[in-house]
């Protein structure tokens, strides 16, 4: 058993900030349903509304634009299904969804669902080799038939390769045609500067545990004029679109974390960019022909998320590397979605034009507020042995290998 481990998977979840833990713990001792009218209820409600104001302020939104949800996935579902149904109800021609090919599954699977069950038509927005959507791509897609578009959805920053999208430009293209725009900003909020109002987007998904808050809470920022068909019905909380008793402690912790993450953003980002660049350079210098995917320029923290390093190691399966690094005390990710834990080649990398074989050797290392130079050093120390073994394992299991098929 190891004594300590190196955590390089902040994009999956980042450790809770002590201030958030303190706030949640204090709130858990309090009684009160934020919907109740008595004193305890009012106390809970006050915490919720203050948290709403804090989050709104941190992200350039108005408090009334913040709808609390259970997390990024629910926010994406509400934004996409809710808008699709509302826009189609208003005009039955609006069945087209314009969605980038590199979205998180919380978006992709909503779109698949609407296509399979609700007659939605999808126009996929292609990306370039670094995973970026060009505003011109969006314009061409809209112009094919502007009246049929229900929604444009492009993520603010990609969760695998860290590419930051030109969200404001894309939003302004959509608005030229009167089409609403959603962005999944789960990975971007607290990492790069995110201003809801200035970006021009109508809907934005954010999550608590990616900014040092608790898991199980998030929000959808929705402009007052964004109409949404609710997905959950009941008590009518959150502007009647998201019924359900609010999780007051989680919301309070979320707000504390979001405030701190955005307040410290500039300092954290420049520190992480330095560590990230050292990590990437070190991996490249290890001599295995490691390739960096996405948009990497040393020193830059605006076009790529400051804490994101995404490496492609030739001749390896990412899952072997993952196991070997884990055994060496380094925790990271392949970055791609799993089905029953089976690593599939990442749809993001394939969309960027990468061959499947290369995409299988993906390793995502994401730094965050607790990351140090020692973490980077530990990873670089563990990498060579892991790569050597992973390369041998790939040879052993390739479908071409028939060594065992010979009889003695």
């Amino acid at each position: 058993m190891r004594d300590s481990f190196v955590y390089l998977d902040h994009a999956a979840t980042t450790p809770m900030l002590p201030e958030a833990i303190e706030a949640i713990t204090a709130q858990m001792a309090m009684i009160g349903n934020a919907s109740s009218l008595h004193t305890s209820g009012r106390a809970g409600r006050r915490v919720v509304e203050e948290s709403r104001e804090t989050i709104a302020q941190a992200l350039g939104a108005r408090p009334s634009e913040v709808l609390f949800t259970s997390g990024g996935t629910e926010s994406d579902n509400l934004a996409i299904k809710g808008t699709f149904w509302a826009r189609r109800d208003a005009d039955p021609r609006r069945v087209r969804l314009l969605v980038s090919t590199v979205e998180h599954h919380a978006v992709l699977d909503c779109v698949d669902f609407l296509e399979a069950h609700e007659g939605a038509k999808v126009t996929w927005l292609e990306v370039d080799h670094v995973g970026r959507v060009h505003p011109e791509t969006v314009r061409v897609a809209i112009e094919a038939d502007p009246d049929s578009v229900a929604l444009v959805s492009v993520m603010w920053a990609n969760n695998e390769v860290g590419t930051v999208q030109p969200i404001a430009e894309i939003a302004s293209v959509a608005h030229e045609f009167g089409i609403p725009m959603h962005t999944d900003a789960v990975q971007a909020a607290g990492q790069v500067e995110v201003d809801f109002a200035r970006s021009g987007v109508d809907l934005m998904s954010i999550s608590g545990h990616k900014v040092g808050g608790p898991q199980g809470v998030g929000a959808l920022l929705a402009r007052r004029d964004a109409t949404l068909v609710p997905l959950t019905h009941g008590g009518g909380q959150e502007r009647q679109v998201r019924s359900g008793t609010l999780d007051v402690p989680a919301i309070r912790g979320f707000a504390v974390a979001m405030r701190l993450a955005t307040a410290n953003l500039a300092d954290d980002a420049s520190r992480l960019v330095v560590l990230r660049d050292k990590l990437i350079r070190g991996a490249q210098d290890a001599g295995f022909g490691v390739h960096v995917s996405g948009d990497w320029e040393p020193g830059d923290g605006k076009r790529r998320l400051p804490g994101n390093a995404h490496l492609l190691v030739p001749g390896c399966d990412g899952d072997s590397l993952l196991y070997l690094l884990d055994a060496a005390g380094v925790e990271c990710s392949t970055g791609s979605a799993c089905q029953a834990g089976v690593p599939q080649p990442s749809h993001v990398l394939l969309a960027m034009g990468m061959p499947e074989q290369q995409a299988r050797g993906a390793l995502r290392l994401t730094l965050g507020h607790t990351s140090t130079q020692a973490d980077v050093d530990a990873f670089l120390a563990a990498l060579p042995a892991a790569v050597e073994r992973a390369q041998r394992a790939q040879v052993a299991t390739s479908t071409q290998n028939t060594s065992r098929q010979k009889t003695r």
Partner: protein
Amino acid sequence: MRVVAAMSGGVDSAVAAARMLEAGHEVVGVHLALSQNAATLRESARGCCTIEDAGDARRVADMLGIPFYVWDMAARFKTDVVEDFIAEYAAGHTPNPCLRCNEKIKFAALLDKALALGFDGVATGHYAQIVESASGARELHRAVDMNKDQSYVLGVLDEDQLARSFFPLGDTPKPQIREEAATRGFYVAAKPDSHDICFIPDGDTRKWLTDRLGEQPGNIVDADGTTVGEHAGAYAFTVGQRRGLHLGQPAAGGQPRYVVEVQPGTNTVVVGTSELLGVDALTGDHARWCGPAPEGVVPVGAQVRAHGEEVPATAWADRDQVEVRLQRRIRGVAPGQSVVLYDGSRVVGSATIAKAAASRPPAAG
């Protein structure tokens, strides 16, 4: 030692992993994803690679506090097991895919990957025993629980593979393993055993084959060549089979008729009365030896089905080929089945049956 515990999500492999850990080994749980469609949810107690099974395996690994991974071997499994299974049936044979899986996947692809990653071996929940001989060689033996003994499906392992294999359940009767699982708090303790073929979830092998090979109508003929019926594909028939022939007219004498031969070349199924089924001379190829290959004619026990009876016999091996003479006739032996040879409880090796015949014509009845 550092050992991969292959964890299917069932009770046996769960206890096997726990026992390896308790024996002081460093254990990592690995679930093999073998299905082309990993999203298949459980339909019955049959399948072995559903999301639910992976989840069950993961839960046990969590309880044991060991790392757990899912390794995707679907491509290898498809080539080496599923396609082989289809090709064998198309050739009129009756294969046992579990042996192929053990030979090509669990104790080859999985074992090789584990060794490459720095492990020393693989442990599974098979009911069989590894016994170290006086000379230090690792021998494969039957489990103590003869109702559960799985040495038959392991008869394809060679010395190198056995040297890296661990079967921690072989010394214990199955009911006790369930009790042990319950004592350990594994909620899979009462999970039904998997059976049949894992990649045919509803157990309907004939329909599954028809979906892949298409309908191929042909004739059912008597031993003298008279056409007595029709079929939708000779591949779906197995020697010894009685059901599903749908013969319009009864045989002379009214005796029940069975499939006695499948002729893929002419897409013909030959039927006959039961005495035509008895065979005692088997020719096998693709011989695999669990230890040194036998020299000369040796007395053995021969078993032709996973849970079949062992019949006294003699065997003579010549490189890849084995000739087996049974001391009495047995019925329903189809080409493609494996014959596994025993010396007492020790597994000597196995071969795939290419030809099964009666050494003398059946006595006139």
